[in-house]
Symmetry: C2
Subunit: 218 residues, 2 copies
DNA sequence: ATCATTTTGTGATTTTTTTGTCAAAACGAA
DNA sequence: TTCGTTTTGACAAAAAAATCACAAAATGAT
Protein backbone atom coordinates (compact mmCIF):
# COMPACT_ATOMS: atom_id res chain seq x y z
CA UNK A 1 0.00 0.00 0.00
CA UNK A 2 1.02 3.60 0.58
CA UNK A 3 4.70 2.76 0.40
CA UNK A 4 6.88 5.75 1.05
CA UNK A 5 9.81 4.86 -1.15
CA UNK A 6 10.80 7.61 -3.53
CA UNK A 7 8.30 8.25 -6.29
CA UNK A 8 9.99 8.54 -9.66
CA UNK A 9 9.79 11.75 -11.66
CA UNK A 10 8.29 9.81 -14.56
CA UNK A 11 5.26 9.07 -12.41
CA UNK A 12 4.99 12.61 -11.05
CA UNK A 13 5.01 14.07 -14.53
CA UNK A 14 2.03 11.93 -15.45
CA UNK A 15 -0.11 13.07 -12.53
CA UNK A 16 -1.31 16.36 -14.04
CA UNK A 17 -2.50 14.43 -17.05
CA UNK A 18 -4.50 12.02 -14.91
CA UNK A 19 -5.88 15.04 -13.10
CA UNK A 20 -7.08 16.60 -16.35
CA UNK A 21 -8.71 13.43 -17.59
CA UNK A 22 -10.47 12.88 -14.29
CA UNK A 23 -11.78 16.41 -14.37
CA UNK A 24 -13.19 15.74 -17.83
CA UNK A 25 -14.89 12.60 -16.51
CA UNK A 26 -16.47 14.55 -13.66
CA UNK A 27 -17.88 17.05 -16.14
CA UNK A 28 -19.26 14.14 -18.17
CA UNK A 29 -20.92 12.95 -14.96
CA UNK A 30 -19.06 9.65 -15.06
CA UNK A 31 -18.82 8.42 -11.49
CA UNK A 32 -16.59 5.37 -11.72
CA UNK A 33 -13.95 4.14 -14.09
CA UNK A 34 -11.75 1.12 -14.46
CA UNK A 35 -8.08 1.30 -15.28
CA UNK A 36 -8.95 -0.43 -18.53
CA UNK A 37 -11.41 2.17 -19.70
CA UNK A 38 -9.21 5.03 -18.57
CA UNK A 39 -6.31 3.45 -20.39
CA UNK A 40 -8.27 3.50 -23.63
CA UNK A 41 -9.17 7.15 -23.19
CA UNK A 42 -5.64 8.16 -22.26
CA UNK A 43 -3.88 5.85 -24.67
CA UNK A 44 -1.58 4.27 -22.11
CA UNK A 45 -1.66 0.78 -20.61
CA UNK A 46 -4.05 -0.09 -17.80
CA UNK A 47 -1.11 -1.62 -15.99
CA UNK A 48 0.72 1.65 -15.94
CA UNK A 49 -2.27 3.45 -14.54
CA UNK A 50 -2.65 0.95 -11.72
CA UNK A 51 1.05 1.01 -11.00
CA UNK A 52 1.18 4.80 -11.01
CA UNK A 53 -1.79 5.21 -8.71
CA UNK A 54 -0.51 2.55 -6.36
CA UNK A 55 2.59 4.58 -5.64
CA UNK A 56 0.34 6.71 -3.48
CA UNK A 57 -2.03 4.14 -2.07
CA UNK A 58 -4.82 1.81 -3.01
CA UNK A 59 -7.40 4.18 -4.39
CA UNK A 60 -9.29 1.55 -6.32
CA UNK A 61 -11.56 -1.27 -5.45
CA UNK A 62 -11.47 -4.70 -7.00
CA UNK A 63 -14.42 -5.54 -9.18
CA UNK A 64 -15.46 -1.89 -9.18
CA UNK A 65 -12.60 0.29 -10.37
CA UNK A 66 -11.90 3.81 -9.20
CA UNK A 67 -14.34 6.38 -7.93
CA UNK A 68 -13.73 9.31 -10.23
CA UNK A 69 -14.38 12.10 -7.76
CA UNK A 70 -12.34 10.68 -4.94
CA UNK A 71 -9.49 9.75 -7.26
CA UNK A 72 -9.56 13.31 -8.58
CA UNK A 73 -9.46 14.62 -5.04
CA UNK A 74 -6.60 12.33 -4.09
CA UNK A 75 -4.45 13.32 -7.04
CA UNK A 76 -5.26 16.94 -6.38
CA UNK A 77 -4.12 16.48 -2.81
CA UNK A 78 -0.90 14.79 -3.94
CA UNK A 79 -0.22 17.61 -6.38
CA UNK A 80 -1.07 20.10 -3.64
CA UNK A 81 -3.68 22.03 -5.57
CA UNK A 82 -5.15 23.46 -2.40
CA UNK A 83 -1.84 25.06 -1.52
CA UNK A 84 -1.17 28.63 -2.58
CA UNK A 85 2.18 29.90 -3.78
CA UNK A 86 3.23 33.49 -4.00
CA UNK A 87 5.02 34.19 -7.29
CA UNK A 88 7.09 37.03 -8.66
CA UNK A 89 7.24 37.43 -12.42
CA UNK A 90 10.50 38.68 -13.89
CA UNK A 91 10.28 40.27 -17.31
CA UNK A 92 7.25 42.08 -18.73
CA UNK A 93 7.90 41.18 -22.36
CA UNK A 94 5.73 39.06 -24.60
CA UNK A 95 5.83 35.93 -22.53
CA UNK A 96 5.65 37.83 -19.25
CA UNK A 97 2.55 39.63 -20.42
CA UNK A 98 0.93 36.41 -21.52
CA UNK A 99 1.59 34.76 -18.18
CA UNK A 100 0.44 37.74 -16.16
CA UNK A 101 -2.83 37.79 -18.06
CA UNK A 102 -3.40 34.08 -17.86
CA UNK A 103 -5.91 33.67 -15.05
CA UNK A 104 -5.70 29.90 -14.91
CA UNK A 105 -2.50 30.03 -12.93
CA UNK A 106 -4.13 32.09 -10.21
CA UNK A 107 -6.94 29.56 -10.18
CA UNK A 108 -4.45 26.76 -9.75
CA UNK A 109 -2.99 28.34 -6.64
CA UNK A 110 -0.18 30.37 -8.11
CA UNK A 111 -0.59 34.06 -7.29
CA UNK A 112 1.55 36.47 -9.24
CA UNK A 113 1.89 39.30 -6.75
CA UNK A 114 4.47 41.45 -8.47
CA UNK A 115 6.19 41.93 -11.81
CA UNK A 116 9.76 43.14 -12.16
CA UNK A 117 11.20 44.75 -15.25
CA UNK A 118 13.88 47.29 -16.05
CA UNK A 119 12.22 49.24 -18.87
CA UNK A 120 11.36 52.78 -17.76
CA UNK A 121 8.11 52.80 -19.72
CA UNK A 122 6.86 49.67 -18.00
CA UNK A 123 7.88 50.35 -14.41
CA UNK A 124 5.05 52.01 -12.52
CA UNK A 125 2.34 50.53 -14.71
CA UNK A 126 0.27 47.45 -13.97
CA UNK A 127 -0.47 44.35 -16.03
CA UNK A 128 -3.73 42.61 -15.31
CA UNK A 129 -3.79 44.58 -12.07
CA UNK A 130 -0.34 43.42 -11.00
CA UNK A 131 2.13 46.24 -10.32
CA UNK A 132 5.31 46.42 -12.37
CA UNK A 133 8.28 47.45 -10.25
CA UNK A 134 11.85 48.15 -11.22
CA UNK A 135 14.01 45.07 -10.90
CA UNK A 136 16.53 47.05 -8.83
CA UNK A 137 14.05 47.02 -6.01
CA UNK A 138 13.61 43.26 -5.94
CA UNK A 139 15.75 42.71 -2.85
CA UNK A 140 13.80 45.08 -0.67
CA UNK A 141 10.50 43.75 -1.98
CA UNK A 142 11.46 40.14 -1.39
CA UNK A 143 12.65 41.04 2.10
CA UNK A 144 9.24 42.36 3.11
CA UNK A 145 6.95 40.06 1.14
CA UNK A 146 7.45 36.32 1.03
CA UNK A 147 7.77 34.88 -2.45
CA UNK A 148 7.90 31.14 -3.13
CA UNK A 149 8.43 31.09 -6.88
CA UNK A 150 10.23 33.27 -9.39
CA UNK A 151 8.90 33.08 -12.93
CA UNK A 152 11.75 34.01 -15.23
CA UNK A 153 10.99 35.44 -18.67
CA UNK A 154 13.97 37.77 -18.90
CA UNK A 155 16.41 37.93 -21.81
CA UNK A 156 19.22 35.42 -21.77
CA UNK A 157 21.89 37.96 -20.97
CA UNK A 158 20.05 39.02 -17.79
CA UNK A 159 19.65 35.46 -16.54
CA UNK A 160 22.85 34.98 -14.52
CA UNK A 161 22.37 38.20 -12.57
CA UNK A 162 18.65 37.80 -11.94
CA UNK A 163 18.96 34.14 -10.99
CA UNK A 164 21.74 34.75 -8.52
CA UNK A 165 19.84 37.59 -6.86
CA UNK A 166 16.57 35.67 -6.72
CA UNK A 167 18.22 32.68 -5.10
CA UNK A 168 20.15 34.86 -2.69
CA UNK A 169 16.87 36.47 -1.64
CA UNK A 170 15.62 33.05 -0.60
CA UNK A 171 13.27 32.09 -3.39
CA UNK A 172 13.08 28.29 -3.52
CA UNK A 173 11.27 27.60 -6.77
CA UNK A 174 11.98 28.76 -10.30
CA UNK A 175 9.81 28.46 -13.39
CA UNK A 176 12.27 29.14 -16.15
CA UNK A 177 11.24 30.25 -19.63
CA UNK A 178 14.68 31.18 -20.90
CA UNK A 179 16.76 28.77 -22.96
CA UNK A 180 19.45 29.06 -20.31
CA UNK A 181 19.96 25.97 -18.18
CA UNK A 182 20.16 26.92 -14.55
CA UNK A 183 22.84 25.18 -12.58
CA UNK A 184 21.85 25.91 -9.02
CA UNK A 185 22.72 24.43 -5.67
CA UNK A 186 20.73 21.86 -3.75
CA UNK A 187 17.43 22.97 -2.39
CA UNK A 188 16.32 25.08 -5.35
CA UNK A 189 13.63 23.55 -7.51
CA UNK A 190 13.77 24.49 -11.17
CA UNK A 191 11.18 23.65 -13.76
CA UNK A 192 12.15 24.55 -17.30
CA UNK A 193 9.86 25.46 -20.18
CA UNK A 194 12.18 25.39 -23.15
CA UNK A 195 9.86 26.43 -25.96
CA UNK A 196 12.55 26.48 -28.59
CA UNK A 197 13.69 22.98 -27.63
CA UNK A 198 10.12 21.79 -27.98
CA UNK A 199 9.85 23.44 -31.37
CA UNK A 200 13.09 21.89 -32.59
CA UNK A 201 11.90 18.46 -31.56
CA UNK A 202 8.65 19.09 -33.43
CA UNK A 203 10.67 20.05 -36.47
CA UNK A 204 12.76 16.91 -36.22
CA UNK A 205 9.77 14.62 -35.81
CA UNK A 206 7.88 16.31 -38.61
CA UNK A 207 10.80 15.94 -41.01
CA UNK A 208 11.05 12.30 -40.07
CA UNK A 209 7.31 11.86 -40.64
CA UNK A 210 7.39 13.56 -44.02
CA UNK A 211 10.33 11.39 -45.03
CA UNK A 212 8.35 8.32 -44.01
CA UNK A 213 5.28 9.47 -45.92
CA UNK A 214 7.38 10.02 -49.01
CA UNK A 215 8.91 6.56 -48.68
CA UNK A 216 5.50 4.93 -48.38
CA UNK A 217 4.15 6.89 -51.34
CA UNK A 218 7.13 5.84 -53.47
CA UNK B 1 28.91 3.57 -36.69
CA UNK B 2 26.03 5.44 -38.26
CA UNK B 3 23.59 2.63 -37.51
CA UNK B 4 20.13 3.37 -38.75
CA UNK B 5 18.17 1.62 -36.07
CA UNK B 6 15.47 3.77 -34.54
CA UNK B 7 16.77 6.62 -32.38
CA UNK B 8 14.91 6.83 -29.11
CA UNK B 9 12.90 9.90 -28.20
CA UNK B 10 14.97 10.30 -25.05
CA UNK B 11 18.00 10.97 -27.21
CA UNK B 12 16.17 13.30 -29.59
CA UNK B 13 14.91 15.41 -26.72
CA UNK B 14 18.46 15.95 -25.54
CA UNK B 15 19.73 17.19 -28.88
CA UNK B 16 18.49 20.78 -28.59
CA UNK B 17 20.28 21.02 -25.30
CA UNK B 18 23.57 19.86 -26.84
CA UNK B 19 22.96 22.34 -29.60
CA UNK B 20 22.60 25.20 -27.14
CA UNK B 21 25.71 24.26 -25.20
CA UNK B 22 27.76 23.94 -28.35
CA UNK B 23 26.61 27.35 -29.49
CA UNK B 24 27.77 28.78 -26.17
CA UNK B 25 31.15 27.12 -26.67
CA UNK B 26 31.49 28.63 -30.13
CA UNK B 27 30.82 32.08 -28.72
CA UNK B 28 33.48 31.42 -26.08
CA UNK B 29 35.82 30.59 -28.95
CA UNK B 30 36.40 27.09 -27.65
CA UNK B 31 37.35 24.95 -30.65
CA UNK B 32 37.45 21.44 -29.23
CA UNK B 33 35.88 19.66 -26.31
CA UNK B 34 36.02 16.21 -24.77
CA UNK B 35 32.94 14.35 -23.64
CA UNK B 36 34.35 14.62 -20.13
CA UNK B 37 34.55 18.38 -20.11
CA UNK B 38 31.17 18.77 -21.79
CA UNK B 39 29.69 16.39 -19.25
CA UNK B 40 30.88 18.63 -16.44
CA UNK B 41 29.39 21.72 -18.05
CA UNK B 42 26.08 20.01 -18.84
CA UNK B 43 25.88 17.99 -15.66
CA UNK B 44 25.32 14.64 -17.34
CA UNK B 45 27.67 11.67 -17.70
CA UNK B 46 30.36 11.61 -20.35
CA UNK B 47 29.20 8.14 -21.24
CA UNK B 48 25.75 9.41 -22.11
CA UNK B 49 27.15 12.13 -24.33
CA UNK B 50 29.28 9.67 -26.26
CA UNK B 51 26.41 7.24 -26.57
CA UNK B 52 23.98 9.92 -27.70
CA UNK B 53 26.30 11.33 -30.32
CA UNK B 54 27.17 7.89 -31.59
CA UNK B 55 23.58 7.24 -32.53
CA UNK B 56 24.23 9.49 -35.49
CA UNK B 57 27.82 8.62 -36.31
CA UNK B 58 31.33 8.94 -35.02
CA UNK B 59 31.73 12.67 -34.72
CA UNK B 60 34.64 12.50 -32.30
CA UNK B 61 38.24 11.59 -32.57
CA UNK B 62 40.14 9.53 -30.03
CA UNK B 63 42.75 11.42 -28.10
CA UNK B 64 41.28 14.70 -29.31
CA UNK B 65 37.61 14.88 -28.51
CA UNK B 66 34.99 16.66 -30.60
CA UNK B 67 35.44 19.62 -32.86
CA UNK B 68 32.92 22.10 -31.50
CA UNK B 69 31.98 23.78 -34.75
CA UNK B 70 31.53 20.61 -36.75
CA UNK B 71 29.64 18.90 -33.96
CA UNK B 72 27.37 21.94 -33.78
CA UNK B 73 26.85 21.75 -37.53
CA UNK B 74 26.13 18.04 -37.39
CA UNK B 75 23.53 18.35 -34.65
CA UNK B 76 22.00 21.29 -36.44
CA UNK B 77 21.77 19.17 -39.56
CA UNK B 78 20.18 16.30 -37.64
CA UNK B 79 17.65 18.68 -36.11
CA UNK B 80 17.07 20.18 -39.52
CA UNK B 81 17.74 23.78 -38.57
CA UNK B 82 18.35 24.75 -42.17
CA UNK B 83 14.86 23.62 -43.14
CA UNK B 84 12.04 26.15 -43.16
CA UNK B 85 8.53 25.40 -42.04
CA UNK B 86 5.48 27.45 -42.80
CA UNK B 87 3.30 27.86 -39.72
CA UNK B 88 -0.22 29.09 -39.06
CA UNK B 89 -0.98 30.44 -35.61
CA UNK B 90 -4.46 29.81 -34.25
CA UNK B 91 -5.62 32.13 -31.49
CA UNK B 92 -4.53 35.73 -31.06
CA UNK B 93 -4.88 35.79 -27.28
CA UNK B 94 -2.13 36.25 -24.74
CA UNK B 95 -0.05 33.28 -25.74
CA UNK B 96 -0.71 33.75 -29.43
CA UNK B 97 0.47 37.33 -29.22
CA UNK B 98 3.60 36.32 -27.37
CA UNK B 99 4.46 33.68 -29.94
CA UNK B 100 3.74 35.95 -32.90
CA UNK B 101 6.07 38.56 -31.47
CA UNK B 102 8.82 36.12 -30.60
CA UNK B 103 11.34 36.52 -33.41
CA UNK B 104 13.49 33.59 -32.37
CA UNK B 105 11.12 31.13 -33.92
CA UNK B 106 11.41 32.80 -37.30
CA UNK B 107 15.18 32.67 -36.87
CA UNK B 108 15.00 28.97 -36.17
CA UNK B 109 13.22 28.30 -39.44
CA UNK B 110 9.61 28.49 -38.34
CA UNK B 111 7.77 31.19 -40.28
CA UNK B 112 4.41 32.25 -38.96
CA UNK B 113 2.67 33.35 -42.12
CA UNK B 114 -0.87 33.86 -40.87
CA UNK B 115 -2.86 34.17 -37.67
CA UNK B 116 -6.44 32.97 -37.32
CA UNK B 117 -8.88 34.20 -34.71
CA UNK B 118 -12.62 34.65 -34.44
CA UNK B 119 -12.82 37.95 -32.55
CA UNK B 120 -14.18 40.72 -34.78
CA UNK B 121 -11.87 43.33 -33.28
CA UNK B 122 -8.79 41.28 -34.08
CA UNK B 123 -9.64 40.06 -37.59
CA UNK B 124 -8.23 42.44 -40.17
CA UNK B 125 -5.42 43.69 -37.96
CA UNK B 126 -1.83 42.47 -37.94
CA UNK B 127 0.41 41.29 -35.13
CA UNK B 128 4.11 41.80 -35.63
CA UNK B 129 3.33 42.28 -39.28
CA UNK B 130 1.43 39.01 -39.59
CA UNK B 131 -2.16 39.35 -40.84
CA UNK B 132 -4.99 38.17 -38.60
CA UNK B 133 -7.72 36.44 -40.59
CA UNK B 134 -11.05 35.05 -39.50
CA UNK B 135 -10.82 31.39 -38.62
CA UNK B 136 -13.77 30.66 -40.91
CA UNK B 137 -11.49 31.28 -43.84
CA UNK B 138 -8.86 28.78 -42.83
CA UNK B 139 -9.86 26.15 -45.35
CA UNK B 140 -9.56 28.41 -48.34
CA UNK B 141 -6.30 29.86 -47.06
CA UNK B 142 -4.79 26.46 -46.42
CA UNK B 143 -5.88 25.33 -49.85
CA UNK B 144 -3.91 28.05 -51.60
CA UNK B 145 -0.90 28.39 -49.29
CA UNK B 146 0.98 25.39 -48.00
CA UNK B 147 1.23 25.20 -44.21
CA UNK B 148 3.36 22.61 -42.41
CA UNK B 149 2.57 23.37 -38.80
CA UNK B 150 -0.44 24.65 -36.88
CA UNK B 151 0.33 26.40 -33.63
CA UNK B 152 -2.72 26.05 -31.42
CA UNK B 153 -3.37 28.60 -28.67
CA UNK B 154 -7.15 28.55 -28.85
CA UNK B 155 -9.49 28.08 -25.88
CA UNK B 156 -10.15 24.49 -24.85
CA UNK B 157 -13.71 24.46 -26.11
CA UNK B 158 -12.57 25.38 -29.61
CA UNK B 159 -9.95 22.65 -29.77
CA UNK B 160 -11.94 19.73 -31.17
CA UNK B 161 -13.33 21.77 -34.06
CA UNK B 162 -10.10 23.55 -34.95
CA UNK B 163 -8.01 20.41 -34.67
CA UNK B 164 -10.29 18.40 -36.91
CA UNK B 165 -10.35 21.11 -39.55
CA UNK B 166 -6.62 21.68 -39.47
CA UNK B 167 -5.90 17.98 -39.89
CA UNK B 168 -8.47 17.68 -42.63
CA UNK B 169 -6.78 20.53 -44.46
CA UNK B 170 -3.59 18.48 -44.55
CA UNK B 171 -1.46 20.08 -41.86
CA UNK B 172 0.99 17.47 -40.63
CA UNK B 173 2.50 19.07 -37.52
CA UNK B 174 0.84 20.57 -34.46
CA UNK B 175 2.40 22.61 -31.69
CA UNK B 176 -0.25 22.46 -29.02
CA UNK B 177 -0.49 24.95 -26.17
CA UNK B 178 -3.89 23.92 -24.88
CA UNK B 179 -4.27 21.52 -21.96
CA UNK B 180 -6.24 19.25 -24.26
CA UNK B 181 -4.50 16.06 -25.29
CA UNK B 182 -4.86 15.52 -28.98
CA UNK B 183 -5.64 11.99 -30.05
CA UNK B 184 -4.98 12.03 -33.74
CA UNK B 185 -4.39 9.41 -36.34
CA UNK B 186 -1.05 8.18 -37.59
CA UNK B 187 0.97 10.59 -39.58
CA UNK B 188 0.23 13.71 -37.55
CA UNK B 189 3.05 14.89 -35.31
CA UNK B 190 1.96 16.62 -32.13
CA UNK B 191 4.24 18.38 -29.71
CA UNK B 192 2.54 19.53 -26.54
CA UNK B 193 3.47 22.46 -24.34
CA UNK B 194 1.38 21.92 -21.26
CA UNK B 195 2.25 24.96 -19.17
CA UNK B 196 -0.17 24.14 -16.39
CA UNK B 197 1.18 20.60 -16.12
CA UNK B 198 4.67 22.02 -15.79
CA UNK B 199 3.49 24.43 -13.13
CA UNK B 200 1.78 21.68 -11.16
CA UNK B 201 4.93 19.61 -11.21
CA UNK B 202 6.88 22.62 -10.00
CA UNK B 203 4.38 23.00 -7.18
CA UNK B 204 4.71 19.34 -6.22
CA UNK B 205 8.49 19.38 -6.24
CA UNK B 206 8.61 22.63 -4.31
CA UNK B 207 6.27 21.31 -1.62
CA UNK B 208 8.44 18.21 -1.35
CA UNK B 209 11.57 20.36 -1.09
CA UNK B 210 10.09 22.59 1.59
CA UNK B 211 9.01 19.51 3.54
CA UNK B 212 12.54 18.18 3.29
CA UNK B 213 14.03 21.49 4.41
CA UNK B 214 11.71 21.54 7.39
CA UNK B 215 12.68 17.97 8.32
CA UNK B 216 16.37 18.81 8.18
CA UNK B 217 15.89 21.93 10.26
CA UNK B 218 13.95 20.01 12.89
C1' DA C 1 -26.75 -17.19 -1.08
C1' DT C 2 -24.24 -18.55 -5.01
C1' DC C 3 -21.28 -18.00 -8.78
C1' DA C 4 -19.49 -16.16 -13.01
C1' DT C 5 -17.48 -11.75 -14.03
C1' DT C 6 -14.90 -7.72 -13.24
C1' DT C 7 -11.02 -5.47 -11.71
C1' DT C 8 -7.53 -4.23 -8.49
C1' DG C 9 -2.81 -4.57 -6.33
C1' DT C 10 1.42 -6.67 -6.68
C1' DG C 11 5.35 -9.47 -7.81
C1' DA C 12 7.74 -11.16 -11.98
C1' DT C 13 9.30 -10.22 -16.49
C1' DT C 14 10.61 -7.54 -20.26
C1' DT C 15 12.13 -3.50 -22.35
C1' DT C 16 14.38 0.79 -22.34
C1' DT C 17 17.68 3.93 -20.65
C1' DT C 18 21.72 5.06 -18.31
C1' DT C 19 26.18 4.13 -16.57
C1' DG C 20 30.60 1.64 -16.34
C1' DT C 21 34.61 -0.29 -18.57
C1' DC C 22 38.30 -0.90 -21.66
C1' DA C 23 40.75 -1.94 -26.12
C1' DA C 24 42.17 0.66 -29.82
C1' DA C 25 43.07 5.03 -31.95
C1' DA C 26 45.00 9.46 -32.18
C1' DC C 27 47.56 12.95 -29.96
C1' DG C 28 51.59 15.49 -28.65
C1' DA C 29 55.92 16.02 -26.17
C1' DA C 30 60.67 14.73 -26.26
C1' DT D 1 60.13 8.19 -34.21
C1' DT D 2 58.78 6.62 -29.70
C1' DC D 3 55.96 6.43 -25.77
C1' DG D 4 52.96 7.93 -22.12
C1' DT D 5 48.47 10.34 -22.12
C1' DT D 6 44.01 11.36 -23.67
C1' DT D 7 39.78 10.09 -25.38
C1' DT D 8 36.59 7.84 -28.30
C1' DG D 9 33.41 3.98 -29.74
C1' DA D 10 31.51 -0.11 -28.49
C1' DC D 11 30.05 -3.42 -25.57
C1' DA D 12 28.68 -5.04 -20.94
C1' DA D 13 26.40 -4.21 -16.68
C1' DA D 14 23.22 -1.82 -13.90
C1' DA D 15 19.28 0.82 -13.08
C1' DA D 16 14.90 2.47 -14.23
C1' DA D 17 10.57 2.15 -16.42
C1' DA D 18 6.92 -0.23 -18.56
C1' DT D 19 4.32 -4.33 -19.25
C1' DC D 20 2.59 -8.82 -18.13
C1' DA D 21 0.12 -12.03 -15.49
C1' DC D 22 -2.50 -13.68 -11.83
C1' DA D 23 -4.29 -14.42 -7.02
C1' DA D 24 -7.52 -12.26 -4.21
C1' DA D 25 -11.31 -9.20 -3.50
C1' DA D 26 -15.53 -7.18 -4.62
C1' DT D 27 -19.46 -6.89 -7.70
C1' DG D 28 -23.93 -7.89 -9.37
C1' DA D 29 -27.23 -10.96 -11.62
C1' DT D 30 -30.09 -14.87 -10.62
Amino acid sequence: MAGDKKISMAVIRRLPRYFRYLYDLIRLDIRRISSKELSERMDITASQIRQDLNCFGGFGQQGYGYNVQSLYDEIGRILGVERRFSCALFGAGNMGNALANYENFQNRGFDITVIFDSAADKVGTAIHGIPVLHVDGMESFLKSKHVDIAILTVPNRAMPDITARVVKAGVKGIWNFSPTDLKLGEGIVVENVHLSDSLMVLGYRLMEQLREDAARRK
